[in-house]
């Protein structure tokens, strides 16, 4: 039995002369919320992009459910069960809220051009199932009233929630959230925390990069701390809060 859903082994990555990640290894256990924190430039986003397949690591291996995935096309990685959101929210602005979630379901649908033109029974069934599932996700994230609004018309906070609903539509086993609380006010950040716990309870493992410490400490089961591309510490929120090296890195002490 696998005791990790995703496993990174000795990952290194550099851009030009800058070494963004040095020999990073860590594992995420299924069914938990795992956070990656660290000061700016620590390599959090790079690590994140290695997991989603945006960057291929220079060295090391990424294994999802025991299977090496580095170098695979991004859309194939999604199909395996890894979904993500973006730091700057990248919705499909010209499309409605519901349509955004339906695009999220793309990898779990099959009909192509001929199906679209022919509209056979299988295609229409698939479409109505997808709409039903998308509406369920909008209810889950509290956006059901807004289904027919244009997504770019939503206030920023709701756009973040919509992005999460869209990512969930691909039925991921692992959901990666890139700074989900950035740009949210305190009330919205609280709602986000509750939503993350609800998502974990659906059986989805979460990996998040986050700056907001109260959120991270409040919801995470485990935390990985990066500093200047190196692994600084890993542990439960309580362990991390009392870790001297971590405090040193954050306060600028060496």
């Amino acid at each position: 039995m696998l005791n990790s859903i995703i496993e990174l082994e000795s990952i290194s990555k550099s851009f030009g002369g800058i070494q963004a990640l040095y020999d990073i290894s860590f594992q995420v256990k299924p069914g938990c919320i795992h956070a990656i924190i660290g000061p700016n430039g620590a390599g959090k986003t790079t690590l994140f992009n290695v997991v989603t397949g945006m960057y291929a690591p220079d060295e090391g291996e990424v294994r999802f459910e025991g299977r090496a995935i580095q170098g695979m096309a991004i859309h194939d990685i999604v199909r395996l069960g890894i979904a993500r959101t973006f730091q700057n929210v990248e919705l499909f602005g010209s499309m409605s809220v519901l349509e955004n979630v339906l695009v999220g379901r793309h990898s779990r649908m099959r009909s192509g051009f001929w199906g679209a033109i022919g509209r056979w029974r299988r295609v229409t069934d698939e479409e109505s199932d997808a709409v039903e599932q998308a509406r369920e996700l909008l209810r889950f994230t509290g956006l059901e009233e807004l289904a027919d609004q244009k997504s770019s018309d939503l206030p920023f906070g709701w756009q973040r929630f919509l992005e999460i609903a869209r990512a969930l539509a691909s039925e991921p086993k692992l959901l990666l959230l890139d700074e989900p609380a950035s740009g949210l006010n305190a009330v919205e950040t609280n709602q986000l925390g509750e939503l993350l716990l609800k998502i974990r309870d659906r059986g989805v493992t979460l990996l998040l990069v986050e700056h907001d410490m109260s959120l991270t400490m409040g919801v995470s089961d485990r935390i990985l701390v990066l500093h200047q591309g190196r692994r600084l510490a890993e542990g439960t929120p309580r362990e991390i809060q009392s870790n001297d090296t971590v405090i040193g890195a954050y306060l600028g002490r060496e």
Partner: protein, 307 residues
């Protein structure tokens, strides 16, 4: 629903209009609508520009022209050949060219269009070169002669109606959503599991097939084709029709094709200043209705109602 209204209007116009010149004009609008519909799927929905689409229009026309004139094929046999040939060429071109983005894609498709144009002009043994290819047979369906203006009008507009419905269905499907997603953010689209290069290649082929069918109909309508009908200016005119009608609007294709075809007719009264006025109108539309005529008019209507 709207499509039934259009079908009614088409049938009514076909039965009522007896002036052959007007009928021919309407038939041309139909052919241009087909071209615009296809290009709109590529440009308006998927957000990929093509400045060489006249090449596919020409391939559709020349393949049926050459096969019927030089090899004596029946026009109905050439239809599948001309569509498949054009689709094959489009596929082969799309694989490398759609790796380009923005201006570079524009330049790449422009170059392709010019190469094909030169081929039409220089391969004179089959294409007739600059003097054109003469003697393309009219269409006939068994005993039913389709060479009369009225019957050809119905053939073209029947095809347009089918084309409109095909586009409407594609747009409102999983594939159509993927196209629009690529337009909005290719980055996010691939993170949603969309194989963006594959979808782009498919829509490129689809738009080329529309152009091939338009070219096929055009060749059998005028029964004479020459390279100048498929030059760079034709590609530009196609892009203009998409933009004027409204990107990402199926009905915009119909409107754009109508405006660009009819405008020069109405502008004859300006005599020597015709081209100036034509250019001016296009500029005004782009400045005041940048979303195209369909979106622009709908927006104006909604704004006036909100007041």
């Amino acid at each position: 629903m709207k499509i039934l209204w259009l079908a009614g209007a088409v049938a009514g116009a076909g039965l009522l209009i007896s002036n052959p010149y007007h009928l021919q004009l309407l038939t041309f609008i139909g052919i241009y609508t087909l071209l615009t519909l296809g290009l709109n799927m590529l440009m308006g929905y998927a957000g990929q520009i093509s400045l060489g689409h006249a090449a596919f229009y020409g391939l559709g026309a020349y393949s049926t022209g050459i096969l019927t004139v030089h090899f004596g094929w029946s026009p109905w046999m050439t239809l599948p050949v001309s569509v498949l040939l054009t689709a094959g060429v489009a596929y082969a071109v799309a694989l490398p060219i759609l790796k380009l983005k923005g201006y570079y894609l524009g330049m790449g498709t422009l170059g392709f269009g010019i190469i094909v144009f030169i081929l039409f002009r220089e391969w004179s043994r089959f294409t007739g070169g600059d003097s054109g290819l003469v003697g393309i047979p009219p269409l006939a369906l068994g005993p039913w002669d389709l060479s009369s203006r009225t019957s050809f009008y119905f053939l073209v507009w029947g095809t347009v109606l089918v084309g409109l419905e095909v586009c409407r269905r594609v747009v409102n499907s999983r594939v159509g959503r993927a196209l629009r997603a690529i337009h909005d953010s290719e980055h996010a689209a691939s993170a949603m599991g969309i194989d963006t290069s594959r979808v782009k290649v498919h829509v490129f082929v689809l738009s080329a097939v529309f152009a091939a069918i338009a070219g096929y109909l055009y060749a059998h309508m005028v029964q004479f084709i020459s390279p100048s009908s498929f030059d760079f200016m034709t590609s530009v005119r196609m892009v203009t029709m998409v933009v004027i009608g409204g990107m990402a609007s199926i009905w915009g294709a119909l409107l754009g094709a109508s405006v660009i075809t009819l405008l020069p007719q109405w502008l004859h009264v300006f005599m020597d200043y015709e081209m100036v006025v034509y250019g001016l109108i296009l500029m005004l539309i782009m400045i005041f209705l940048p979303q195209g005529l369909v979106r622009g008019v709908v927006d104006l209507y909604e704004r006036s109602r909100a007041r």
